[in-house]
Subunit: 246 residues, 2 copies
């Protein structure tokens, strides 16, 4: 199956870096606080970060008590930044597609993946490998693009707006048609893989995981007061989180 490495595309990498440097973005407002709130106890634990990118989270996990962090990413460009900006003797960065983690010959207490799994075609394969790589009672926590965000088929716009451009509702087509969705995000042809909620849940439970908690973060009243444009996240959340135990 295809292993996508969009982050090594020059244009994508530059534009993506600019986006993530903005102080206010959906990641900082919703994704990151939810990820931190859902983290299991990391004190004394070993952590595998799937799709670690530039390594900020690896440092965060050390700060929260992890004794050792392994960061895996398909993009050498991202890992170069990680090695220069977020280096630590307790962090090992591995350049590999997350489809290949079965080759890692050790186990971890916690596996975390932030916003990477929707790029992966072989979700069951990754889930199987994560299960193998986890110690007994280990925790798998991941975020991904929300199924209502990955499902849009391209028949028209994602949103219907009023005459002032305010988003009235999300246009949802072919939610039940799973698989590869082409989309343009800085460059053309960024591949996302749409999976229904039930498929995500069943892939985990069929492979031995127990679902502990799921979250679909949306803005607090305070966020809406400061950044009313994020009201669209009430209509269609950007992210889905799943926390599961081996």
């Amino acid at each position: 199956m295809a292993k996508q490495n969009i982050y090594d595309n020059e244009t994508f990498f530059t534009e993506y870096s600019k986006l993530r440097e903005r102080e206010v973005n959906a990641n900082n407002l919703f994704e990151l606080p939810t990820l931190f709130r859902m983290l299991p106890e990391l004190q004394g634990k070993t952590v595998l970060d799937l799709g670690c990118g530039t390594g900020e989270r690896c440092i965060d996990y050390l700060d929260r008590g992890a004794v050792e962090v392994t960061g895996v990413d398909i993009s050498e460009k991202m890992l170069n930044v990680a090695r220069s900006k977020n280096s630590d003797p307790r962090i090992t960065y591995l350049n590999m597609p997350m489809e290949d983690i079965g080759a890692i010959d050790r186990r971890f207490d916690v596996v975390i993946s932030s916003l990477a799994l929707h790029y992966v075609e072989d979700f069951p394969g990754v889930v199987k490998n994560v299960f193998k790589l986890l110690n007994e009672d280990g925790i798998f926590l991941f975020s991904q693009e929300h199924p209502l965000a990955t499902c849009h088929s391209g028949t028209g716009d994602r949103w219907t707006r009023d005459e002032n451009g305010i988003k009235l509702y999300a246009n949802i087509a072919n939610y039940c048609v799973e698989g590869q969705k082409d989309s343009t995000w800085f460059v053309e042809g960024v591949l996302r893989y749409h999976r229904m909620f039930s498929t995500i849940v069943n892939t985990l439970t069929d492979n031995g995981f127990t679902i502990l908690r799921m979250e679909e973060p949306y803005p607090t009243d305070e966020i809406i007061r400061k950044y009313p444009e994020y009201y669209d996240n009430y209509h269609k959340p950007d992210f889905l989180f799943v926390k599961a135990a081996k």
Copy 2:
């Protein structure tokens, strides 16, 4: 909290009865086959049917080997039909809102609820009581209206159609705003309670259940060939199923 008894409304009851008597409807095409496929082994088991209505399923559960079935419904009208059309010495029909099942002084092996829980405001209360009423390793299987069906806020139509009236996409607003949604279904003011996927999952796991499987049924190719109008179920499924273990 409100306990809704729309089925005792005369107009609703008549129109609903007509709908269910149609040979081809979403219940027969998607809901019922999925329910039967997801049923746990019923041989020798005791079953509680929450929102049993006119009792067809109670008979089905006996046919599949259940030794005893208790059917609970808030509507005396529905139970009158059940007692005359679907009577059996092994079936007990109880007229009570499912919010009151905590008063039932016995346990069951399996609790099943077909398309009733979206009428219930106090979902956590029902889940807690189901957990109490189940024997160890008991199974809770339920279907409800899909969260994409319960969430529409009423800003415009549910669907955007092309010039021929074909549904292009579902208009999804305020998915993250949970709670009571007024809607018209034969009569005005049928109350549905919208809950996000994550809320449904977390209510179960927070109260001790283990999620076994979820399904969001959509049409087979054969159904689409025979009844192309059901393609809309690819855009937005009508039903959500959850199977969980105590």
